[in-house]
Amino acid sequence: QQQVKQSPQSLIVQKGGISIINCAYENTAFDYFPWYQQFPGKGPALLIAIRPDVSEKKEGRFTISFNKSAKQFSLHIMDSQPGDSATYFCAARGSGYSSASKIIFGSGTRLSIRP
């Protein structure tokens, strides 16, 4: 049962363009929504994260937009660069402070930035 749905599966964007990846979730108890970036042959690394009480978070060229009522969130990469080419995962964490709270990952988006 997939609780976090991610689209598109793959994305090609011209250098300098805007890359947009979308995610939707079902469980309203999720309390933390991170995005992870994974380069080939490497482990995923946290890119940016947001809590559900905030509608937008920006860090450099990366922005998360969060729509709590629609249970959707998205990653925008402005001025996309070839070095941004990687697989991106959205995720959601179950609520509470327990270490037993799991992070559920989306299925990933392979982003390619064309020079």
């Binding site: 482990g43 995923p44 946290l46 994260a49 995962f89 964490r93 402070y97 270490s99 037993a100 299925s107």
Partner: protein, 111 residues
């Protein structure tokens, strides 16, 4: 300084064999995880330990057995390896299960 390290990086073995993957973190985190990433890049949690105690045990065959000798180490032992076990296995650690730090992965190939 490597935060989360795994050994080996590559593991090629035959069906029916038993193998182990080791993980160490030097971040002082109290929680460690094993994830499996299949050929389609789907990332799924397998196990989680908090201060040497098993706290998450997903639907994983009994052939997989994690072991945490201390809170900085988490090993994964796999018995009677099958073709379907071929994947990349990631170890991760975190404090309070928010930001997770992943290791470089172990690519397991079963022939």
């Amino acid at each position: 300084d490597t935060a989360v390290s795994q050994t080996p990086k590559y593991l090629v073995t035959q069906m029916g064999n038993d193998k182990s993957i080791k993980c160490e973190q030097n971040l002082g985190h109290d929680t460690m995880y094993w994830y499996k990433q299949d050929s389609k890049k789907f990332l799924k949690i397998m196990f989680s330990y908090n201060n040497k105690e098993l706290i998450i045990n997903e639907t994983v065959p009994n052939r997989f057995s994690p072991k945490s000798p201390d809170k900085a180490h988490l090993n994964l032992h796999i018995n009677s390896l099958e073709l379907g076990d071929s994947a990349v296995y990631f170890c991760a650690s975190s404090q309070s299960s928010y930001e997770q730090y992943f290791g470089p992965g172990t690519r397991l190939t079963v022939t």
